[in-house]
Symmetry: C2
């Protein structure tokens, strides 16, 4: 049994987004306990010129869904970045997970060497599928989820590494 | 050509640690520019009850070297956590990268289903190799490197996502 590109992608993405959803729920509960406007927490940043929590979550979901689409050779779907509440972010994550679960292992066959190119803020990027997954999608996905975790952790939300890693 | 456990591990770990090394170098240069005791930056934390920068780097290197060893079925090496300077951390990362480069693809054959168990602060953990790599080693490695990045970024070090992702 060989490792498949599907196994290295879809179940990993789903798990990471599910953990993110649970971390966000703890952040929301913490903010409500403080009597704060919970949704204000979504605008928190580690420093003024980094993206706020709401963007970390939006980018994490896009990274997973676009990553899956490009590896499968289909056009990535586009969603609006218009969430302003925890409730809307939970819905965005749920939609991303449902979308990811629609991919099949057969769509990922041959994706290891698939030519992938797209425009990013850094310009035109070109990869083979394996490099795209391991050196772009996974690092970016973990970057944004970890940064979301760090924002909540710094705000005093009672979460720990076990919440980040999640359960099998 | 199938995806191999070696390809999903060693080149990824090496790249992540190399990027971490370069981010740290920028942090050190920034601290020296400020006239600060550069090594004091290693004690910075996002919040008092999270680990300081020096521990983020130590854990990242251990995650990679122990991950590689356990997947290869050999006893993980143990190194002391006694670094107090950027110079010592650079040496630790260089040693970890050299150690990782000593593993061969043949050692990773069959690692996908290898039974892996070890004691962590969370108690006894048990995995099959594939789950260990994708749901423990990679998330933890990216967690600690991203947190190191966030600590430096919050301290005003001029780094960006391109430094985190690194070059091929």
């Amino acid at each position: 049994m060989a490792l498949s590109m599907y196994d290295a992608s879809i179940p990993v993405f789903v798990r990471v987004l599910r953990n993110l959803d649970q971390i966000l729920a703890k952040g929301e509960a913490h903010a409500r306990d403080k009597g704060a406007q919970a949704d204000a927490l979504l605008q928190s940043r580690l420093i003024f010129d980094m993206l706020p929590l709401v963007r970390q979550v939006q980018i994490a979901t896009d990274m997973a869904t676009r990553g899956a689409s490009r590896l499968a050779g289909v056009d990535p779907r586009s969603v609006e970045d218009n969430e302003t509440s925890f409730e809307q972010l939970h819905a965005r994550i749920a939609s991303a997970i449902e979308h990811l679960r629609g991919f099949t292992p057969a769509q990922f066959e041959g994706s290891q060497t698939r030519a992938i190119s797209f425009k990013s803020r850094a310009g035109e990027l070109k990869f083979e599928g394996q490099g795209y997954l391991f050196h772009y999608v996974l690092p970016n996905l973990y970057f944004h989820v970890t940064t979301a975790y760090n924002l909540l952790r710094q705000a005093g939300v009672p979460i720990g590494k076990a919440d980040f890693l999640g359960e099998a």
